[in-house]
């Protein structure tokens, strides 16, 4: 897959730990699955390392749809990271 730019969104305590709500990000060619994305993000800096300490519990939505960690990313316009939901 080629490099592409995507809008990243962070919610709840992930947002608090990474210190940003949203950003434009260029994903490298090496990142092709959701899991690879999480592991790559974790290497960015200490904030992301703290937010993604346990990748298994992080939920990821591609273009506002829940996506499994094994899924390939494709070329979404936006990617969101958040903890398990507690609405209702």
């Amino acid at each position: 897959m080629t490099e592409f730019t995507v809008k990243m969104l962070y919610f709840s305590w992930i947002r608090e730990r990474v210190g940003i709500e949203e950003e434009q990000l260029v994903l490298p060619q090496t990142v092709s699955t959701v899991r690879e994305l999480l592991l790559w993000l974790r290497e960015r800096n200490e904030q992301f390392a703290a937010a993604i300490e346990f990748p298994d519990i992080i939920r990821v939505a591609l273009d506002q749809e829940h996506t499994e960690h094994e899924s390939s990313i494709g070329t979404p316009r936006e990617i969101a990271l958040f903890p398990p939901m507690t609405g209702g």
Partner: protein, 153 residues
């Protein structure tokens, strides 16, 4: 014809009886109205407020997904779901689901199905602000909510 659900995500409070009236006043063949409202608990007066964060767009889309699924599973005449975000005080309403049908089973099942899926699929997160001034903390997701969803499979 399957019903078209009404989905609203808003900061403002809502009026349950007005919502029921809007769904039933035009149709005299609705025999059953089941509702669920979720209220903010004070947790034994330890809670000052809940702060609800949400993912705009996806929140509505996820609720709509489960509401439409309910309308295909059961003979539902109308389905209204309202979920608030922002700061909510103990005793205030957080969420409302209303399902109407000719039959009570469909109304009950529809309302409960939507609540179960909304709980674990709709992107909302609750932060607790405490009376004792300790740092506000995010509510942990409950395993029981994930299990509740699985009973519909």
């Amino acid at each position: 014809m399957t019903a078209i659900p009404k989905i609203v995500v808003q900061a403002e409070d809502f009026d349950q009886s007005a919502e029921i009236h809007a769904m039933t006043s035009g149709n005299k063949d609705i025999g059953a109205v089941a509702t669920f409202s979720g209220l903010c608990r004070s947790e034994g007066e330890s809670l000052n407020a809940l702060e609800l964060e949400h993912y705009p767009g996806m929140a509505e889309a996820e609720i709509e997904r489960s509401a439409k699924e309910a309308c295909t599973r059961w003979p539902i005449d109308g389905l209204t779901v309202i979920h608030r975000y922002g700061v909510i005080q103990p005793g205030e309403q957080i969420v409302l689901v209303i399902a109407t049908s000719r039959h009570r089973d469909a109304a009950f099942d529809g309302a409960r199905y939507v609540m179960d899926f909304l709980k674990s699929n709709a992107p909302f997160w609750k932060k607790e602000h405490r009376v004792d001034g300790k740092p506000a903390g995010w509510v942990d997701a409950k395993e029981s909510d994930e299990q509740a969803k699985n009973r519909w499979q």
